[in-house]
Subunit: 339 residues, 2 copies
DNA sequence: AAAGGGTGGGCAAATATTTGCCCACCCTTT
DNA sequence: AAAGGGTGGGCAAATATTTGCCCACCCTTT
């Protein structure tokens, strides 16, 4: 009793019954009479018996763990999604293992190998910005592991997907800018090779076209990454243009904030001289000066829904056959950084 | 071969040897001759044999997983620490399981129970702000699981600790404010019952005392949480004081940013009318206007060191006897929000 | 008295791997 | 010829649990 944990055999020996009977008693198997069950349960309680999940895992060939693969967590976006995922999963019998790909295809590959080695039961993934080939996810699916893709799409991969209508968000933001009289609207686009980058760019382009504004190629500059520092040079590039834009629609809030930073350094007034709109609605965006207009996304809900979809597959293997595609609508939030 | 994964027995059958021999061959046991080893390894390769870690876990009574318990991850602080932890652990044979206590003692308790049920091998923890009793961590230690505490101390708990010298950081910040001529320095303190809150407050108090400035109780207001919104009311309370302070030292950057926000609403100029200094040096703090003076902490390194200490215990059970206590020095970063 | 059926629970296999112990075989030595 | 020792590898237990199959026992029925 002192050494090692209490097992089903200890209880069996004590009660002079077979381990199998203890197992059945604890699981309320009908073939066991009430007195035996009661005795077993009482002793299990008394000895503080804890079933050994490691043995169960081996028997059931599953680890009761689901993997979550995200590019990073230092920003607010993925952290909030993970919080949503966690809050759903915590009520299930599953544990979650969070893995960071650091926006690297290589690392993502390693993670997937690792997860499949520990016999993960399901995977939630937002691919790295380098990932163009999705065969590693297909391999998971082939070995029976459901995969749910969130936020960043994997074009061509058949899987459950929980996405945001980035196109719509971008279109709205740019139409709003046009509506307030901006004529020369620049776009600080996201890193290339990302569905979100493409869709936001397309929303920008279509909003211009719909309003008969000609696209100026110089007004579109893509940033190399997602952080503040990644927005500085591109912002300068745009603001140094001979025909300086009177508005910037940025890929995300971080980039929008660097654009504001640079614009101020250039002596521009926001929003009088230039309107700036971001994307994501990070918590601090409301508290900077001027407060940032941006496109809000239901991040937490996306996390929750992704997790729920995965759980539904895990609980009912049959549903794994048809994939769901859920697209959340983002919402434009106008604050002080735009006219 | 098609159904289910390849096991050691499949290889044994194919080669007409015993499974034990296959196991020894794969593990380069000296009792196996080279030819046998080569044959086994070749076939294992050919069949894409993957050892079943679930079986190994059961045998070794360990899950090869370490748990990381943090209060939240939506802020930059814990996300960056986790990134540091992850970057160290990823090179080991361990997996990490991140658990969010949501600043709740109850949830923390549930997490610990869960982790001990899945027979976690080690734990890295920053306790919730509600946690006053550390018996759940002691129980882990008693069952042989090393516990490393980071950032937020658990007073009275004997364990490895990786902390920041909050006292020193606060002292420096306040002395700097005094040095630039501020006479009435307020402190927006952190949530109560937190080692970091206590130490930063003490640094504030001692810096005042050392410079013969009397403490004004009205100048000390504690915030209820860590986010921007939690700083609004306390900031108003302080700025509405008859004798308005000429400087604020805030518990963290979020709170400092709300203070800036409120100060601007009050028509105050920063730093002319009031200096503001935060704590944490979050990435956006450099990009707001005016850029925020703050106290930088080596977050990423703290994560790495915590993970390294835990790994050292896991690799050598003997070192578990003496606990390490590492205290990082923070650094004051002066920007534009202070005179 | 034999057959039938229900109740309660035990045996042993199964999950995949490692490892202590043993043994066969062969060569060498006395 | 017997003893001794080294090499190579097999047997079976061990890890903790579940579960298919079986069986003993008892009562009832014909």
């Amino acid at each position: 009793m002192k050494k090692g944990r209490v097992t089903i055999k200890d209880i069996a020996r004590e009660l002079n019954i077979a381990p199998s009977t203890v197992s059945r008693a604890l699981n309320d198997h009908p073939a066991i009479k009430k007195e035996t069950k009661d005795a077993v349960k009482a002793l299990a309680e008394a000895l503080d018996y804890q079933p050994n999940l490691l043995a169960l895992n081996l028997l059931q060939k599953k680890s009761n763990t689901i993997g979550v693969i995200v590019p990073e967590i230092t920003g607010h976006f993925f952290s909030a999604i993970i919080t949503g995922i966690q809050d759903v999963i915590v009520d299930s019998e599953y544990n979650i293992m969070i893995c960071l790909s650091n926006e690297s295809y290589e690392e993502e590959l390693t993670i997937v190998k690792r997860l499949s080695k520990i016999q993960i039961d399901g995977v939630l993934v937002s691919p790295s910005s380098e990932t163009k080939n999705f065969d590693h996810f297909r391999r998971l699916q082939k070995s029976g592991i459901p995969v749910v893709v969130f936020d960043r799409d994997c074009p061509g991969l058949e899987a459950d997907k929980v996405l945001v209508d980035d196109y719509f968000g971008a279109f709205q933001a740019v139409e709003y800018l046009i509506g307030t009289g901006c004529k020369n609207i620049a776009h600080l686009g996201g890193p290339l090779n990302l569905s979100t980058t493409d869709h936001r760019l397309q929303g920008y382009l279509d909003a211009l076209e719909k309003n008969n504004i000609e696209v100026n190629k110089e007004y579109i500059v893509h940033v190399p990454g997602f952080n503040h520092k990644d927005g500085i040079k591109p912002s300068k590039k745009i603001l140094e243009l001979k025909k300086r834009p009177d508005a910037i629609f940025a890929y995300n809030d971080n980039i929008a904030i660097s654009a504001m930073h640079v614009a101020k350094k250039f002596g521009l007034k926001i929003p009088e001289d230039i309107s700036i709109i971001g994307f994501d609605d990070e918590p601090h965006s409301n508290f900077i000066t001027p407060s940032l207009s941006t496109v809000w996304q239901p991040v937490y809900s996306m996390g929750m829904l992704s997790a729920r979809i995965l759980l539904s597959h895990l609980n009912d293997k049959n549903t794994a056959l048809k994939f769901r595609r859920e697209v959340f609508k983002p919402e434009l939030v106008i604050r002080a950084s735009s006219r």
